[in-house]
Point group: C2
Chain length 247, copies 2
């Protein structure tokens, strides 16, 4: 049985404050746990309901019952177990080639997780977030990255400051931007996506060099704009489409 | 104060059985309620915490307090109120032009909602679902369509049977399909997307005329395939990209 103290620590890790205090975060789901084990992130302990990953002898494992798992899990339907991991050092942000994504205050954990998973799929190594954006190590973000969090570098920075000093292309997505389908998209630069409710801030808008837009093909004018993660996928898809057709 | 009977009816509408029994469904969120009011769907009653939509004099309105709203809402954070609506008749599935989407057992409400919203954006009028797919009138699906449910025709049909008799292009998305970026995509046909866990069924796979795929640009081989709603957005984006470049 898990001690109350362990339960208390694990259930506190939903908050960034406690993740930083204990230097720990939680990974759930077979796929995610498998990925974190293979990554350079240190798994401190596995709390699992069956003895999975038997080949991983160096990792401390505690076999728990479903009742205890329910107590520590962040999922509505807990699944197999939970890995307690050490927060890795922040990745270093050096000069990079190709495309990076910048997120101007993304607040929804599912959106950040989906965008990190997309970045992984499309071979984008860096995601730059404003400090106000949802934290990568939020259990719901980690869950929705499906393991991609261990392969993409997510940086929390003063985005405005960074973009001011950046000399390359800065793409911003705006309703009134130019159609991504009718303009050549240079394959180097930073693609900025805005906050779910407010879009891109005025300050960052002023720093963009290319205002782009996904054209609307629907019938009526009052359709809600696309969700930010979906919009990111359409735009990244078009970047890759143009790249593939050039080669 | 709401009667227990009203609360009981509304909270039963999370289940398809009771939606059909009462011929009712629930719409929440300002945007969604606004859209349903403007649509041809009949709003039977609004339960709202403030007197919004004052111009809609023909709709019965009941002003409730936050406590009552909490009791009937399907949202973690209830917002403004809830519209009780009559289930519309099933849309008729006639011959159509252009592209339609078919979903082979989509189970996640957020995925269906996102795909309906995407269809609305990209001007796709018909979404064909297997009968086992999640129901459009599930409150979580309605919520995530952001109003698009009133503008897209979602049909629940024997998909296999329908595709057997369909003479046009049937696109299916498979890991081993041909790159969407390196093949011309005809602008007429049905795009089939598969179940979250199992993809497209063998029976429907056999009916596809084009096996397509979103190429992977990442570094390592063990990245999870893209989420079905995100994959749909990338593929629809490429259809529109090719269409735009032709014109």
């Amino acid at each position: 049985m898990l001690s109350n103290n362990v339960i208390k620590i694990i259930t506190s890790l939903g908050s960034k404050k406690y993740r930083q205090k204990y230097n720990l975060f939680v990974v759930e789901g077979v796929k995610n746990i498998g990925e974190v084990i293979k990554s350079s992130i240190k798994v401190k302990e596995l709390f699992i309901t069956e003895d999975l990953w038997p080949e991983e002898e160096s990792i401390k494992k505690t076999i728990i019952d479903d009742k205890d798992l329910k107590k520590i899990s962040y999922l509505t339907t807990p699944n197999v177990g939970l890995a307690l991991c050490e927060l890795p050092n922040n990745p270093e942000l050096k000069d990079f080639e190709g495309l990076a994504i910048a997120l101007d205050d993304i607040r929804d954990p599912g959106n950040l997780g989906t965008i990190v998973r997309l970045a992984d799929w499309f071979g984008i190594e860096h995601v730059l977030c404003t400090k106000e954006s949802v934290d990568l190590y939020n259990p719901k973000v980690i869950m929705s990255t499906m393991g991609s969090f261990s392969r993409v570098n997510v940086h929390y920075i003063d985005l405005q400051d960074y973009l001011k000093n950046y000399n390359g292309n800065i793409f911003g997505t705006f309703m009134e931007g130019e159609s991504i389908y009718e303009n050549e998209l240079p394959q180097e630069g930073i693609l900025v996506m805005g906050n779910e409710a407010n879009g891109i801030s005025k300050e960052i808008e002023n720093l963009t060099t290319h205002k782009i837009s996904i054209p609307f093909f629907g019938k009526k004018g009052n359709t809600e704009s696309l969700n930010v993660a979906v919009a990111t996928s359409v735009i990244l898809g078009e970047f890759k489409s143009q790249l593939s057709k050039k080669n």
